[in-house]
């Protein structure tokens, strides 16, 4: 059984929480006590239906305003898969939360209100899915019950969205359109008989059949050293293990490797996972590696396969999503956290600002405000070892940390 992380994006009142509540309800993931709480509150508010959004909107402020203001994680499972939904808010001002939710997701659901069609927000949601190179996107056209389950309405929205798709720069993305009514349960978990003209799958059916190749980009193996394990015990006197997570591809015992930044060559001697040795460490496993040679390796170094080097540079250009109320300006200094490696960075220049609704770019930019997305060139105090984001989702991304407040103030995708 695999785990599938899905980001959801929709505008206010698109019924995103209702959709998630519906999925939970129809997959019998809501427990009796949660269901009772929803029934009770729905009744108190005078609704004649169950308000499934109550299942997900966690914070007091959200319940009061009836909106979602932060990323919430929702868990459910079927016989086939375990799912995590990153429920991200869809307001203009919360782009940062959408980027955050999408950054750990392999698939995404974009919600469109059938009565409103493709709106400016939809452009943004799709833009972010594209920027983060989410491989599987489901465009869910909701509230079909309010447009008489009309095929015409569905086709119009689909055509509008396809126009948007022609503008994307990441083409290797599967996009599926599904007409649903979250409130009535049509085409969410179960196929609806209200829309015989729709020949595709229900939303959950679609998610159930996704496999690894549909959702993961395979790249070259990168092993950023997280922690050096030196037990200094009698049994493991000379043991020097490099703990970390394998990204992109697999590493095997006997592989010729190069340690960056020293560019020292060696060979993988052993791969440990706890007290067992393995021949191969597969991507995303947290292993401990030992090398044939006694060389100096520390946290932030990277072990890569020989002949497969990343770019080693003291500067780079990236698309940055700015997340802080203090502006990013040229000359500003930040910590770049690239994986587990931290370096000091200076903003060399802001090349241009990108309108996240596909309406073009601005060249004349003095600074970036919260939720701005822009191409920015950074200079670093020491080199990092990166790949372009389009080739390596992990080794091509970074976060920016404010040196004064210590807050995470931006995320970047190296070009």
């Amino acid at each position: 059984m695999e785990v599938l992380k899905i980001a959801t994006a929709g505008s206010v009142d698109d019924g995103k929480s209702t959709l998630i509540g519906r999925i939970l309800y129809d997959t019998k993931s809501l427990t009796t006590d949660k269901l009772e709480a929803i029934e009770k509150t729905s009744k108190q508010r005078g609704y004649d239906y169950l308000d499934f959004s109550l299942a997900t909107d966690g914070l007091v402020a959200e319940r009061e305003q009836g909106i979602t203001i932060d990323v919430a994680h929702i868990y459910f499972s079927t016989k086939k898969k375990s799912y995590i939904i990153a429920d991200t808010p869809g307001h203009v001002e919360y782009t940062r939360n959408m980027v955050t939710g999408a950054s750990t997701s392999q698939a995404s659901i974009i919600l469109i209100d059938a009565r409103k069609g493709v709106i400016e927000q939809t452009n943004r949601h799709f833009f972010i899915n594209n920027l983060l190179r989410i491989k599987d996107v489901v465009v869910t056209i909701n509230k079909m019950d309010l447009v008489d389950y009309s095929e015409e309405v569905y086709n119009k929205i689909k055509a509008d969205f396809e126009e948007l798709m022609s503008k994307r720069d990441y083409q290797d993305q599967k996009i599926t359109f599904i007409p649903v009514s979250a409130l009535k349960g049509d085409n969410v978990v179960n196929k609806s008989d209200k829309m015989p003209w729709y020949k595709g799958e229900a939303l959950l059916e679609h998610l159930e059949q996704l496999n690894k190749a549909d959702i993961f980009n395979v790249g070259t193996p990168r092993f950023p050293v997280q922690y050096v394990i030196r037990p200094k015990t009698e049994d493991f006197h000379d043991f020097r293990g490099y703990a970390g997570k394998v990204y992109g591809g697999n590493l095997s015992v006997g592989d010729d490797v190069i340690v960056l930044p020293s560019k020292t060559r060696s060979k993988i001697k052993d791969i440990y996972f706890y007290n067992e040795k393995y021949e191969t460490a597969s991507r995303r496993s947290s292993v401990t590696i030992t090398l044939e040679d006694d060389i100096n390796v520390s946290r932030g170094d990277m072990i890569v396969k020989e002949g497969d080097l990343p770019t080693i540079e003291k500067q780079f250009t990236a698309n940055v999503c700015w997340m802080d109320s203090n502006q990013l300006t040229p000359g500003g200094k930040y910590i770049v956290q690239h994986g587990v490696n931290k370096v000091l960075a200076k903003v060399d220049r802001i090349n241009h600002k990108i309108h996240p609704d596909y309406s073009g770019i601005d060249h004349d930019v003095t600074g970036l405000g919260v939720n701005d997305i822009a191409s920015v060139t950074f200079k670093l105090n020491k080199p990092i070892f990166y790949d372009q984001f389009k080739n390596h989702r992990t080794n091509g991304s970074f976060i920016l940390i404010d040196t004064q407040t210590n807050n995470t103030v931006g995320a970047g995708f190296i070009q």
Binding site: H73, T100, I229, P231, F273, T280, S282, T408
Partner: protein, 301 residues
Amino acid sequence: MNKDTSHINSLENEAIYIMREVAAQFEKPVLLFSGGKDSITLVRLAVKAFYPAKVPFPLMHIDTGHNFPETIEFRDRLVEELGLELIVRNVQDSIDQGKVKEESGRYASRNMLQTTTLLDAIEEFKFDACIGGARRDEEKARAKERIFSVRDDFGQWDEKNQRPELFDMLNGEIEHGQNVRVFPISNWTELDVWSYIEQENIEIPSIYFAHKRKVFLRDGMIWSADDEVVYRDNHEEVVEELVRFRTVGDMSCTAAVLSDATTISKVVEEIRESTISERGARIDDKRSEAAMEKRKQQGYF
């Protein structure tokens, strides 16, 4: 090996990664240990993360004094077997020092009082990272919790100003006096924890398994009849039932469920079939719908 084919194994890999980030990014981390299944799972993950070296941080138990005796006994044995360092701080001391006042009446519990003792201990030892076993599936407010969750000097959680957490990059930069609560099993569900305990053959306290116990019924829930700790009205009759506990908190706020699950595989089966969520058996969350969020803002785990 193919570590990412199985759901549980991918969660394990993620948690091990987080444990290592804690050890690398902080000077004085501590693992908050309650003796419950979640913190026992954390210990297992920590042992795996640093093998063959020792776990590079101590465990700390905030003891309410109202724990099930089985839990304490288990705790001491675990620490000894694994050669771990254990720090215990007592809520009773905070009460004796007049820092907190004991609750009284039917729903009296020391659960809320733990916060003061915890914050004092963090200050005493200058801990900059506290690893906890909270999971996002437990409760709605926890669903918004970050993996690295920054707390201010007063241990408070500012839920509206949380740092965004992207990819698997964890930002542990903090100012002096602040600390970070770390939740390595954020993405695990209750069933995941139980499945992991079964898969890894991890020993857990006996009260998690069905056993005969003197109990009484109140508000449709089953309470342990331990008159020294749990308030009981005279009309609340004590009976003996076959029960087990789904969470192991304070005796005064942890209800039992009727069960005949005497082995781990039977427990897993029971959880799979269960229709009452885990926190449904915790009276402290029932105080109000926003109960957990309020406690978290005040510095609760």
